[in-house]
């Protein structure tokens, strides 16, 4: 037996590119699928949530203003960094979800591939959902997608890593910034993801990760006037989901409702387009003949 003391990790939140403890000073116990204690995670307060929104709003303009190509490069860089820390995530996912090492490895690989999938979409989504519209008049009519703004994401509860990546990546790929509430029972992969994001050229504040009780933090985020959209993927309680939708309606937030999702399946573009607004521009062609006009 080694006489070396093991170093326990103090998991922290990831807000505004920094790793703060919860403002409330609270923590809660995280255990594995067999109820064995793993670590203490910060128990975020509403104030932490509000700070995260401030950080996300601050980062949003700069992130959306980067070229789509550069955003893709940065997302790809995140995948590279994930690849390098695969062992850690395999261990955390195995503990969180009660999987064998080999099954957890499959899940982590899928999550990294998922990240690359969305990295590839950053500079292609505009061609798919935007473009020139045929209109009956002497105009060019062009639609282009723009980010919605600050998006709150309630991460899936059971799929602590693949599900998490599947809801964060589409939000930031299109130029939004995210405030993420990690899985309540297994937040550790999410908090570790924060460390990866911090070291992969992603500007601080683009992704902010909170751990804690969904029922405590989510309502103030759903009602927050400076949040533009909310993804309720991980809200399992129907009553809470309805409450959140009602609160979100107040400033006309976009809402993605909770629905059964097979996270291992092809994600499609549904989540990517859910957080885009379409801007349409009418522009005179300068040539009246183009519309078939007689004069």
């Amino acid at each position: 037996m080694s006489d070396r003391l093991s170093v326990f990790k103090t998991y922290k939140l990831y807000v505004g590119g920094k790793f703060p403890r919860s403002e409330s000073g609270r923590v809660y116990e995280v255990s594995d699928s067999k109820n064995k204690w793993l670590a203490n995670a910060p128990l975020s307060s509403r104030k932490d949530a509000r700070d995260a929104v401030v950080a996300a709003r601050k980062a949003q303009g700069g992130w959306a203003g980067r070229t789509a190509y550069l955003r893709g490069q940065i997302l790809y860089r995140v995948a590279e960094m994930l690849e390098g820390r695969k062992d850690q995530f395999v261990r955390e996912v195995a503990e969180a979800e009660g999987l064998s090492k080999s099954k957890a490895a499959v899940v982590v690989d899928a999550a990294i591939d998922r990240w690359v999938w969305y990295a590839g979409w950053t500079d292609k989504v505009a061609q798919i959902v935007g473009g020139g519209n045929p209109v009956a008049g002497p105009f060019f009519n062009l639609s282009s997608p723009e980010p919605t703004g600050v998006v709150t994401v309630v991460a899936p509860q059971k799929s602590s890593f693949l599900g998490l990546v599947s809801v964060i990546a589409p939000v930031i790929a299109t130029g939004n910034t995210a405030v993420v509430i990690a899985s309540e029972d297994s937040p550790l992969p999410a908090l570790s993801l924060g460390e990866v994001l911090a070291t992969s050229d992603l500007p601080g504040g683009v992704v902010n990760i909170l751990s804690g009780r969904t029922a405590e933090i989510a309502p103030s985020l759903a009602a927050h006037q400076d949040v533009n959209a909310i993804d309720l993927a991980g809200v399992e309680d129907d009553v809470l989901a309805k409450e959140l939708e009602v609160a979100a309606a107040d400033n006309l937030k976009r809402v993605v409702r909770p629905q059964p999702v097979d996270w291992s399946a092809d994600p499609g573009t549904h989540r990517l387009t859910a957080f885009l607004e379409t801007k349409t521009v009418w522009h005179p062609t300068g040539s009246l003949g183009a519309s078939g006009s007689a004069y």
């Binding site: 929104v53 709003r57 103030s220 009602a223 927050h224 006037q225 400076d226 107040d250 400033n251």
Partner: protein, 312 residues
């Protein structure tokens, strides 16, 4: 000037003897007290009261080279009606502008009751001949300024020439006529708490209506500690002479939390007599937006964003 101080200001040496005879400031104790008073958490109805009080104490300020008449008019409109979605919101105490903008500001606030303050006397450096400073003041007063914010000559103060500082304040006070005079010490440049205390006493003896921490143009502006020190000075001065003098921290107060901390300091140090915009002011520009956002949060239960308040 209270007769009690006639002897003190009789000559350079009596003034110096008086100022250096003031009890020294315990810097560690002062900072500890300011910090401990700042830890209180103010909630719900008390918070709502504090927010409204803080809004009513703001000297909404724009002091930039790039100030335009349009910007000053916008500021005046905002001071008179800070939150157009809620008419219950109190108006601010004053708008604070450069002397050449006084007429524009006066017109902008109209008869809303918002006062116009002007930073005369070669603000912010204060490095000009006394005639120039007095001219600056007279021009602002003639244009309709209700309040004059003057800066002291820090060079004279730091070289120990207290009489010059005293006499300049006297002269400016005379030039103000009916306008109230706020004397800015620029505490960030005075180096020590003892100096801030001495400056406060010079200002009070010379007839200032307000003593003010800073111009907002240097690194260290209003801090809880230097404001606490000035509040103690006005409290002691009133106990000694019966004359009440106002205090205005300025610069660097940006959040509701900060503002509430200062209000606690006022109540605990000088007392509730100063919890009024006639005796206490905040020199600030971005503070108002945060107060309005907090006010909206209390009224609606929802956190608000910067899109819901005007941009300064």
């Amino acid at each position: 000037m209270p007769t009690a101080f006639a002897d003190v200001t009789a000559s350079d040496s009596t003034l110096r003897r008086f100022l250096h005879g003031l009890p020294g400031v315990d810097a560690v104790g002062l900072e500890a007290r300011a910090a401990s008073l700042g830890t209180r958490s103010i909630k719900t109805t008390a918070k709502a009261y504090a927010i409204d009080l803080a809004i009513s104490m703001i000297d909404l300020t724009t002091l930039e080279g790039a100030d335009t008449p349009g910007k000053v008019r916008a500021l005046g409109a905002k001071a008179a009606n800070p939150d157009p979605t809620d008419r219950e919101t109190p108006r601010t105490a004053a708008v604070c502008v450069y002397p050449d903008m006084v007429a524009t500001a006066k017109e902008a606030v109209g008869n809303s009751g918002v006062k116009v303050a002007s930073v005369a006397t070669a603000f912010p450096a204060g490095r000009a001949a006394i005639e120039v400073k007095l001219g600056d003041v007279r021009e602002a007063v003639a244009a309709g300024a209700d309040e004059i914010d003057m800066v002291i000559d820090r060079g004279a103060f730091l070289s120990g020439d207290y009489m010059t500082v005293f006499e300049q304040i006297r002269a400016v006070k005379e030039a103000c006529g009916t306008a109230r005079l706020k004397v800015i010490f620029e505490t960030g440049e005075l180096s020590t708490y003892d100096n801030i205390k001495r400056a406060s006493w010079i200002g009070m003896i010379a007839g200032a209506d307000f003593i003010k921490t800073s111009t907002g143009k240097v690194g260290v502006n209003a801090t809880p500690a230097n404001t606490l020190l000035m509040l103690e000075a006005v409290r002691d001065f009133r106990a000694q002479t019966g004359v009440q003098i106002g205090v205005k921290p300025a610069g660097g107060i940006r959040s509701t939390k900060d503002a509430v901390k200062f209000l606690v300091l006022v109540n605990e140090t000088a007392g509730p007599d100063w919890l009024d915009n006639h005796w206490f002011r905040f020199g600030a520009s971005s503070l108002l937006n945060d107060l309005l956002m907090q006010r909206q949060k209390l009224a609606t239960g929802r956190y608000s964003g910067p899109d819901y308040v005007t941009v300064d």
